[in-house]
């Protein structure tokens, strides 16, 4: 599935670090199919996130780009050259490992200078280079410490310094923030984004956290079961998911469905009282159609209030109300059955007319907020 259309850049950049994956398949000797045919383009100099649940193949994909594993089939082109079979050393890539893999027996400076040491640079030369990079990550005071004496955030900076000292065109990050606690995670992801913009090279960042991906990435690639499900800009993934899978996975949407009853003026009417704007050709009457509604664009009122719209609404019993500071998350069990319906209401708005657990309530939305989903 070729997914270049949604990139925010309208052309594939000729920058260093442009990646193109063609027909990548990875099958392990025991028969397990980790990657099942991936075609993907990543613009040079962009920040790309591979996003998906465990086992979706994102880490395998990353390792194949890095050269730590080889694909069973397919080509991996970096800046136009197929690198399959080349060792990591020759690819111009550098990897940041999940637990950083800082050499415990070496100081920060020795860790950072490692890649230069194996290339045969003299002690003075490589320490000079290392110190320069250590200064870039603001760890000069800690250059002589051993990794265990550093905090999680500091270790990440060392790992980063160690990776960029070789001036790679492509930096691969394997869940770099998973080992950190919540607070540190937010702080460090800003540092990663800033570093990427400063260096101007391509970052490919693997994560299973949706909000993290949209926070840092120019391009988000959602993966599932070894395939790319959707590749778009961060905003595009969140507001305009292609499929029910992505809509559910990203978490900001409710997915609803109904059979097509009629089509008029570009609007499809579905069973259940839903109306949604059509894109392209209308499916046959009777076909089951899915669409997504953003949770934060739904209005919540007590059931039976006068003036509540009858279409594009879900009525049901309130199962849970969660206070989340900025907003309140209300979960309804729809009368008509189906999945739970989730609404994010602005906090102030909620407390003006609170709806409690067990009460009957209706969530309604404007037709413009409904987004048609393609069949999976």
């Amino acid at each position: 599935m070729d997914s270049t259309a949604d990139l925010s850049r309208t052309e594939i950049s000729e920058h260093a670090g442009a990646v193109e994956l063609a027909g990548i398949v990875k099958r392990y000797p025991n028969g397990h199919l980790a990657v099942d045919g991936i075609n993907l383009r990543i613009a040079g100099g962009s920040y790309c996130c591979l996003l998906g649940p465990s086992g979706c193949g994102k880490t395998t994909m990353l390792r194949m780009i890095a050269g730590h594993e080889n694909p069973t089939e397919g080509e991996i082109c970096i800046d136009g050259t197929d690198v399959v079979g080349q060792p990591p050393r020759l690819r111009g890539t550098a990897m940041m490992f999940q637990n950083y893999a800082l050499f415990p027996h070496l100081s920060v400076r020795d860790n950072v200078a490692f890649s230069l040491k194996v290339r045969g640079l003299s002690r003075t030369e490589r320490f000079r280079e290392a110190d320069r990079v250590i200064e870039q990550v603001q760890l000069t005071a800690l250059a002589n410490r051993l990794p265990l004496q550093l905090s999680g955030g500091q270790q990440q900076r060392v790992a980063l310094a160690r990776a960029i000292i070789t001036q790679p065109r492509l930096l691969l990050l394997d869940e770099p923030l998973s080992a950190l606690d919540e607070f540190l995670r937010l702080q460090m992801r800003a540092e990663l984004k800033e570093m990427q913009q400063r260096l101007g090279i391509t970052f490919i960042h693997v994560t299973h956290t949706q909000l993290e991906a949209v926070a840092v990435a120019d391009q988000v690639v959602v993966m599932s079961q070894g395939r790319v499900v959707q590749s778009s800009s961060a905003r595009g993934i969140y507001t305009e998911p292609d499929s029910a899978y992505v809509a559910r996975f990203m978490g900001g949407q409710n997915v609803l469905s109904g059979s097509l009853e009629s089509v008029a003026g570009g609007i499809a009417t579905l069973t259940g009282g839903y109306a949604v704007r059509l894109i392209g050709r209308a499916p046959p009457i009777g076909k089951n159609v899915e669409f997504a509604v953003r949770r934060d664009r739904v209005h919540l009122v007590q059931a039976g209030q006068p003036g509540t719209p009858g279409v594009n609404a879900v009525t049901g019993v309130v199962r849970a109300v969660e206070y989340q500071g900025i907003f309140v998350k209300a979960t309804l069990i729809p009368d008509l059955g189906g999945a739970e319906f989730v609404i994010y209401i602005d906090e102030g708005e909620y407390f003006q007319a609170p709806v409690g657990i067990g009460a009957r309530a209706t969530g309604w939305w404007n037709i413009e907020e409904a987004h048609l989903l393609q069949a999976d």
């Binding site: 990875k26 000797p29 730590h68 594993e69 080889n70 694909p71 069973t72 079979g85 060792p87």
Partner: protein, 300 residues
Amino acid sequence: MGPTMATLAVRRRDRSVPVAAILLALPLGVILFFFVVAPLISVVAVSFFRYDNFAVIPGFTLENYQSVLTSGLTVSLYLEMIKLAFLTWACTLVIGFCVAYFLVFHVRSKLIAIALFLLCTVPFWTSNIIRMISWLPLLGKQGVINQALMAVGVIHKPLQFLLYSDFSVVVSYVHLFTIFMIVPLFNAMSRIDPALFEAALDAGAGRFKTMKMVVLPMCKSGVVLGSVFVVTLVMGDFYVVKIMSGGGSASVVSAMVDDISTLLFPHAAASAVILLIVLTVVIAGILRLVDVRRELVGDR
């Protein structure tokens, strides 16, 4: 296979033949083959040779086996060794279990637990013979123990059985070999997830019940490993039993030593083969109870 080795392997897309692994394991295989397998084969071969008063004559005869198997001495020696092995096994098991349990479950600081564990291990790194003879001044009629007991008034005449008896032999065995029981048990107990333990206690199981239901099953493999070591060490011994029994008892292997000293190699060889068969049967039986490779190498 480690990433380093993977690059040394012959590469075909993503399949590889572990050439490097085979090369690395080869020295071990060659040495062990030459110094374990080949010697054992030689022993088997020589067990079929004839001998006269001066030399060993290559040939084929079963008279060595006949002589060993029909000798009353052989039977009595085996019975003696089995008895000693059983007594030693029982003592090392009880002591080993208590020590391992104490170290794993009762010592609060992991650092101290390891220090105490090392304390138990250090004697293993010193000479067995010295450790054995160090019992002599203690157990004799004028030894420390007798003198102490008499001084305190518990006994009036020195205890005879302390030295040059089965007692002293077993004491020596236990002294030397308990560590072989402690280590596998310590290992097995350390692997028990503390959460299991706490869950059982939370659920109201008393400590004994918890021990029975959580600890004992997990220790099975440790017990089996330790037992294999202790049994083979006892049955293969020739000097402890000789010295500590004052020459009164002999063992299967000490009889072999006697044969060798009179150059009766084929006879000793036949005896050795029979011992090996007995040991193999015993060990095979014990090992059926646990997957040894998994225990020692870890899950892969």
